[in-house]
Assembly symmetry: D2
Homo-oligomer: 402 residues x 4
């Protein structure tokens, strides 16, 4: 029982902290100014400061922390990566700076574990080098994606080819001008066993039949320059080598992808919650009403204490889930991963809501607080809604008594 | 003890319901399409459908319900207006259609009660006729406006003139191309008694020295075509006849204005909560996952029941506060008005949050649900944050035992 | 829309208030001292002060308010009774003083509506005269009574007799030395339609085969001198005239009984919550820590405001349900009755929990606060658990969209 | 970062688990039967099974785990003791079986650290041997003990003696027939610095002037055979050697005593919460209503998941606080200890409340669930109420930004 980070993590933590504090946070405003806001995502551009920060981070070796594979990165396990991801969560642009942003991280992991040599060379290498970006096309607008067996998109084998049809949305990153491919999930054999029906297919975005309809807004925001794409796959034809790991292995890959991915989200969420609590506290000590700082008025200290207690618990639970993932694998850590996927975003939502409230009129117009609120709200749905994860936690609890 | 609406109200309710159902709701989409979205509020235009709907409503006599004065409107009291406001709350554009939208309603009431004949003729008449719109400039960015004595803006008497200086924000409606005046609140005599220092001044927007800096975003949205203005008043000079009711009466007017105004917000909030609950239920019965409608999965029925119970209670409390306002006046109804100002927006936030959650990815991108969430979040702060109103409720409770 | 009580109610309210304030509350301690505490319920005695207070109340005509029948009492409807029941809820012994205590009230209503002349003469008259007490034997220990169709007890017709078998518990009042009969519910014809299988039977407690096993404790308390009996009915034989309204009508009677009964509980619960809030406030203003009254420390005012807002809403909802019951009957008021049955006890539990907390060590040992906590906790289960009532509310809400 | 228990802990855990499972739990009922229930605590007797179980545990070396001192026990640190205390928390009688029950544990620690050789020999030795029991007399009925500077009891030096006066309550264990001494805290020099005014004094219970008034009930229960004493100290005279560590050191000792003590409570609380969740789940899978096990009805799975997530977080937080206590000492771990003192009892209250609810009528009469509810409710007040601990957490959070 030791709550100290590993020596490896303790070496890297101060480097990342410093880079975020000295290089990333001070450039957030410049990044925003350099952004092209447009309802037409094809106008979007990557702020030059991002490419500059990435180059700096990479040159310092602060790069690809998420990859457990030690040949391609520092080779950290989940529990070592956790505190780094938390620090990155303190800035909405930090994860990309260190090439640790979703969905590229998950896609890279999929290719490391399941990609063919050709896929690795052509797509993984530039992805890890951040020359290109990628998307993940799983969720569909017409059906409840919380139940993956609802999926209607198809990836059918026709001769030497795989033919994709279907409509996807929430393909995050699809609006990024650097986005070159998406990983598509669809039904290959609807008569196969329940978890062997689906396949994952690597689809270059310039393949004929791939039509990006729009970027889906989140609370009215388009999340430029990445976006969340709604995409039609209309008879998209690819050679069978586009399958990842072969037909029928979609579920297996998804499981492996989502475990660490969910943990990463939670880690960043903790960092975001710390930002929100810091904002709350700074307002509480710096703003005066009725002759006192807000911190000395009414229940504000109770709120602060409740936020601190909730964040600390969510952090410990995330770390434990990361540790369990390292030690027991995706299935051994399932209950913990599902649990923290519920806990962390709800904690963030509570903390940000309190931070907004104490900021009054400023709170509802402050871009950072507003983005953190959107982040919390999205994460209670993305990668599986709270309800599904609570269901898994309950099922595993009940099972002990059956 | 009778929970039936008055006969007067029961005559009007079906007319308003029908107009909202048949004319307003079906034109919401057209209204959105006709809107000019621009970060420059000077580009904003009023959708033609709005002027058309207003003309229709007015011709049917469905107009100015909010005014208790029976010479200028139907002369309803608060408890009769309540169910109408609730119906209007079912559409974000409905209040304006019936000329019952804030802040014009509150401004009109101020002018009816406190305005000079000249002010009434020049500003009230076109306001009630909806030929012009107006704003209310009270909140300031630099100080905690929850404590009104913090106010720094000044309305000083210099010779025959009143001279205004200060910076205001959250002047809702200031971006509307039809907005012609704002009511400004500032300190006239800082040495007067605490509640006789402030004055209200009617300021034509084209007065030299009035500079609209920007429209303040709410969760990134500019609320076109009305907006929430941030305005500098830089040595704005007006004749002393611009005072409303004379210098030093600002607090008195504000109290009278905010009582009914807060109730109106709450009434509309109940209507909005009903919309959110309807959306939630329709999704629950219409969407299938794991082979069942969502309504039959997990705790969704508990959520629906909790929403229904919360809305019903908030409605009853609002009605009771309206009744108390009619019967006992602003001060007699103070605890009830403050209480419902806390309860109603929190109920809306809870219901909308649940509606978003059950809609999954659609929930976070759905414009209506997103606007309702913003409405709830704003109303927990606007016209006094929850904390201030809870403080009043507690003070009046404790006072019984001192 | 009128929140004023009826003139009839306004006449009686001050009389009951005064009697509770001047006669009942000051004698609570004496009542406790006169109680016989014993683990053997057969030792229990009625405190003489109770009979004295009853005689006084009866002589003043403050008696049998619950009965809508104007021949047998003042003939109040539910909405007039509501404020009286609330006042009685301020003292745990007050309902009995006015002969308005459960389960005698519900049993009397059953006999008024469904009893034979013989039953009325022999059992109703002394019950309304408070010469005897009664019990209601419905819930069974072995099955989930939230689903009434689970009931296993039987009331079979054998020749000219009805024969009762089964085990019941939570037969409140069965330990009272004055308790002379219980109303028993059991299956008469298990092949009949689902809601025509059960019968109600009036069982004199001295009938052979009726064995009171024990009084069931509530949080370790036996609720002397009334108790909650666990009773075995072992081949209890009665003439068929013991059926109430005839065989197969058990469900029908239960429905009619439970509607007003649940409302009565809720009314009293509001009164109890007011007591708890008063205790909370008195402690908040009277106790000093860190140099300030507790009312000025931390979030205590938020707590007080939240309690006031919750109680006020629960009261309005209860009144509305009572009004709906008068106006639309048991089925027309079903959603409201079920809703308030959830809301009121939960509000009481929240308020009492807060009152206990602010009393510190005194809170967990204070008999009044402890009894109020038990009352709240019991009422979330008695007469149907929260879950069942929420289910009804949800079902009626969803039905609108099917 | 390692969530595995130490090797030392992993050796002992299965031994304690097995003893609790095989010896303690099966004898809980016998213990209850052997208890003497009486309102006169002088009638109380120790159930013989307790002494027998103690002898067994001691002979197996399962004894005095709480003492970090390796000469007097196994010498475990807090993080090793944590999982053992959690297991003991699964039975209300288990802590005493292993001689790990409060307040004897805290008193023993005080004597180990601060006691004179004479005190150790005369009182510590038999305490560690479980031949005697002890109490801790700190809280006073007349003042808010959440603010320790309110304390009114005195321990004045008169000549060679120390003279004690004052009234104490919540002296847990004072009703135990084996209780031979209490540690008394009082003001020695009211003019000294705030934290050097108080002293601790070891008071044999048979000293003249010590009058035990009564055992304070908790929700009506007297907690036999230990009880929570209300004691008057009326001019109790003792030699100055009765001071612990000398006059003026009361606060210092209290701080050192309360840190680990609070953690121990929290550890046991986690174990108790696990018992409640197990009860909840067993009922959920074993009870049928409306044709389904309760686990498949409504929101019961959400409740189970929420309980599991809350317990797991509280456990991790407790373990972290224990680790911090070992590593950074009482002051370094202050925020964590205060935080978990809030979190753990609230989690237990939530879980037990849910367990009671799902048990319906059985829930409110079940002794185990009722005792767990009382335990939760007491612990939100004992050793400092939630409010005080939240205040500490908030103060330390805010301090970062001052």
């Amino acid at each position: 029982m030791d709550f100290e980070h590993s020596e490896r993590a303790r070496q890297i933590i101060p480097l990342v902290e410093r880079f975020v504090r000295e290089r990333v946070k001070p450039n957030e405003r410049l990044y925003d100014e350099q952004l092209v806001h447009s309802s037409d995502f094809r106008q979007w551009r990557i702020p030059p400061i991002m490419e500059q920060l990435k180059a700096e981070a990479k040159s310092l070796g602060l790069w690809n922390f998420f990859l457990p594979d030690s040949d391609l990165g520092p080779g950290l396990d989940n529990r070592d990566y956790a505190p780094l991801a938390e620090i990155m969560g303190q800035s909405l642009i930090a994860p990309e700076v260190f090439n640790c942003n979703a969905p590229d991280t998950g896609n890279a992991e999929v290719l490391v574990r399941y990609g063919s040599e050709e896929q690795k060379e052509k797509w993984l290498e530039p992805l890890l080098d951040a020359r290109i970006r990628s998307g993940f096309a799983m969720t569909e607008p017409a059906v409840a994606s919380s139940d993956a067996t609802n999926m209607q998109a198809t990836a059918e084998i026709v001769g030497d080819e795989v033919v994709l049809n279907g409509q996807k949305w929430w393909t995050s990153g699809a609006g990024d001008p650097r986005c070159k491919f998406v990983i598509f999930m669809g039904v290959t054999d609807k008569n196969a066993e329940r978890h062997q029906r689906h396949s994952m297919v690597l689809v270059p975005l310039d393949t004929p039949g791939v039509k990006i309809l729009r970027m889906v807004p989140i609370f009215g925001q388009l999340s430029e320059p990445h976006g969340h794409g709604e995409i039609i796959f209309d008879n998209v034809r690819l050679p069978k080598s586009a399958f990842i790991a072969g037909p029928g292995r979609g579920f297996e890959i998804a499981q492996g992808r989502l475990g660490p991915g969910r943990i990463h989200h939670c880690m960043r969420t903790i960092g975001a919650a710390e930002v929100a609590l810091e904002r709350l506290c700074r307002r509480a000590v710096g703003r005066v009403a009725f002759g006192k700082p807000l911190a000395n008025l009414g229940g504000n200290r109770e709120i602060i204490a409740n936020c601190r207690m909730a964040i600390e618990q969510a952090r410990l639970y995330t770390l434990k889930a990361a540790w369990a993932l390292d030690k027991y694998g995706v299935f051994g850590a399932l209950a913990d991963v599902c649990a923290i996927k519920v806990v962390a975003p709800n904690v963030l939502q509570m903390v940000v809501d309190a931070a907004i409230q104490i900021h009054g009129g400023e709170g509802i117009s402050d871009p950072e607080l507003n983005q953190l609120m959107a982040m919390a709200r999205v994460l209670r749905i993305a990668d599986g809604p709270d309800e599904v994860h609570r269901g898994v936690v309950a099922r595993m609890e009940i099972r002990k008594y059956l």
